[in-house]
């Protein structure tokens, strides 16, 4: 049920080939679905990720992002459909898939009573990283993540951003082909988020990794080569972020006038544009808003109280495709509350 909204853009000559290898997709999902009781968390999802790509799943909380990632990482069995990761089936080839992926979960999974080095050693042993390269690799990754100086501190003394960096380092320790990041910067401040992205993109360059991530931050999705927009368990579009934004038909113009209905009609009659009204403001898209707006204002019969122009964001794309905003914070708050209430015992025990 994948709706390709941007069919006409698919042959864009600017579109670069993102695949580095020639051996087909490294992640392929075909009609993947997962139910929890009667709730359909993921319905019929199909997509392919090429080698070396940074591929993002963008959608609000509860859209099915974590469920999809869990199925790809062999932590959940699909209810229907199939998926292969690094050439192995996620059900039949579980051990092979596990060996070829690195995983950074949404919730912390470090042993806080151990030091950073001990956490990494454990991981190296568990994945059978050869003794010869183990310590060198640990040093290399801790240095890259700027944690080398704190390598012998207990993880419970780390800040949220340091923990996330350590988890990314751990996920990369065994030289995986694919790194899965589930909401890698959730709950982190903007500077830390920026830094983590710098590391991730750096790593992609150095190690030729394929990165699959989920996010509900639009600015984060901008960093991806391609994104799949997912809502209520279904993929509604897959493409490059700029292609998706251009598919909206250019820039977004907003006008506040004394009569929104009349303004809407006027725009439709004169320019043949369709817009929408929200909070006394008319909004519509035109290719070159910077040239269009002065022209419109010169001859517009109604009094314009305010006018604005902006480049479309991925949120606009999401809104256009699903009819609601990704920033609809209801799901967000519920999620936060659930997490907070779900772990009171743990917090009390740790400190």
């Amino acid at each position: 049920m994948t709706k390709e909204v941007v069919d006409e853009q698919r042959n864009d000559p600017m579109r670069e080939k993102s695949a580095r290898g020639s051996g087909g997709p490294v992640i392929a999902a075909t009609r993947l679905a997962r139910n929890f009781g009667r709730t359909k968390a993921v319905k019929d999802v199909s997509f392919a990720v090429e080698e070396g790509e940074v591929f993002g799943f963008l959608g609000p909380n509860g859209a099915g992002k974590t469920t999809t990632i869990s199925m790809l990482c062999t932590l959940l069995k699909p209810s229907a459909g199939q998926a292969s990761v690094a050439g192995h089936d996620v059900v039949g080839g579980r051990p092979e898939v596990r060996r070829s992926i690195g995983l950074v979960f949404q919730d912390p999974t470090l042993d806080e009573y151990l030091t950073a080095t001990q956490n990494l050693r454990f991981h190296a042993y568990a994945y059978g990283v050869p003794r010869r390269t183990r310590d060198k690799r640990i040093r290399e990754l801790l240095t890259l993540m700027e944690l080398w100086d704190r390598r012998n501190s207990s993880v419970r003394e780390y800040s949220g951003g340091m923990k996330r960096r350590l988890e990314i380092a751990r996920g990369l320790l065994h030289h995986p082909h694919i790194l899965f990041l589930d909401e890698p910067t959730l709950g982190l401040d903007p500077q830390t988020r920026h830094r983590i992205w710098k590391y991730v993109l750096d790593l992609r360059r150095r190690e030729g990794l394929t990165i699959f991530l989920t996010t509900h931050y639009m600015d984060e999705a901008e960093n991806c080569d391609r994104i799949a927009i997912i809502d209520q368990g279904e993929i509604v579009a897959v493409d490059r972020p700029d292609v998706l934004k251009n598919s909206l038909g250019g820039d977004l113009v907003t006008l506040r006038t004394e009569n929104s209905a009349a303004a809407l009609e006027e725009i439709s009659n004169r320019y043949g544009l369709t817009g929408s009204v929200e909070d006394d403001t008319v909004a519509f898209s035109v290719p070159r808003a910077d040239e269009f707006l002065p022209e419109l204002l010169r001859t517009f019969p109604l009094r314009v109280l305010a006018a604005g122009v902006r480049r479309p964001t991925l949120d606009d794309v999401f809104l256009a495709l699903t009819g609601h905003s990704i920033r609809d914070d209801r799901a967000n708050n519920n999620e936060r509350l659930r997490r907070y209430l779900g772990t009171p015992g743990m917090r009390m025990q740790i400190h």
């Binding site: 932590l75 979960f105 999974t109 470090l110 454990f122 568990a126 743990m346 740790i350």
Partner: protein, 271 residues
């Protein structure tokens, strides 16, 4: 198969690392049996006196306390699974290429090594309570403590694999552990108690663990018995047959194997 062996040692390694890093856990695992010893031996020594020729109450109870504290600690090792689940670390383990059976056996092995350490410390301080310890006792005790703690870790892990919160694990285990330890012949011989208590005690697998350890301690004090004859304070009489040390250990070990296999199955079900 290599995944299983690697699992066993990697997981056991972490259990030990955790144990060493948590000084309160080391202290509490040693303090509890010592408190039991001091309170009971000082409190009851004079009232009770000898249970058999040459065996006073302290000599009788000390091996029981060793068995009891080893057992309790081994069962509570299942808590580490629940803890790992709560802090999220279990996911790191479950998504790794380590096999599930390796993970379960590694946790049990870690618990067994910790239990061994604990019993060795208790042996070292035994002379302070007037309980003689010889090298022979130490060497014979090691395999028995090992089997006993592996088996009871199996029990703890089976429960731990099903529990979502530490509180519920602790409540459930405490409910089981108290009757289990009090009716295991730790504080009194099971062959000379009211009928109902005798039946319950002899159905309790821990009774055989306690008996095995006690036999090692008292081997020098109690004259060797002809097979089949009963003794008031050692051996468990089942249908007129007095168990031997080997039978005690075999029974505990067999049950432990079943529990560990059950724990592995239970773990396998959580992908």
């Amino acid at each position: 198969m290599s995944g299983t062996f690697r699992g066993i040692w990697v997981i056991a390694y972490r259990e030990l690392l955790r144990f060493v890093r948590e000084r309160t856990r080391i202290a509490s695992s040693l303090l509890m049996p010592i408190i039991f010893m001091v309170v009971f031996s000082e409190g009851l020594k004079r009232q009770i006196g000898s249970l058999a020729v040459g065996v006073d109450f302290v000599k009788f109870m000390y091996p029981g306390i060793v068995a009891m504290s080893v057992s309790i600690n081994a069962i509570f090792s299942g808590l580490s699974v629940v803890w790992d689940r709560e802090i999220g670390f279990l996911k790191e383990v479950l998504v790794s290429p380590l096999s599930r059976s390796g993970v379960v056996l590694g946790k049990a092995l870690g618990a067994a090594v910790i239990a061994l350490f604990q019993s060795l410390v208790m042996l070292a301080i035994a002379p302070l309570f007037g309980v003689p310890v010889t090298l022979e006792i130490v060497l014979k005790l090691i395999p028995i403590v090992f089997v006993l703690s592996l088996s009871l870790a199996g029990f703890g892990l089976l429960i731990g694999s099903r529990m979502r919160s530490q509180q519920s694990f602790q409540l459930l285990v405490q409910m089981v552990v108290f009757p289990l330890t009090f009716l295991a012949g730790v504080f009194f011989p099971v062959n000379n108690v009211p009928r109902w208590m005798e039946i319950v005690s002899k159905l309790n697998p821990l009774t055989y663990g306690v008996d095995a350890i006690r036999r090692i301690f008292l081997a020098g004090e109690v004259p060797r018995l002809p097979l089949g004859s009963s003794h008031p304070i050692i051996g468990v009489i089942v249908f007129g047959h007095t168990t031997t040390t080997l039978e005690d250990v075999a029974l505990v070990g067999a049950l432990g194997a079943v529990l560990l296999i059950g724990a592995i199955f239970s773990f396998n079900r959580q992908v």
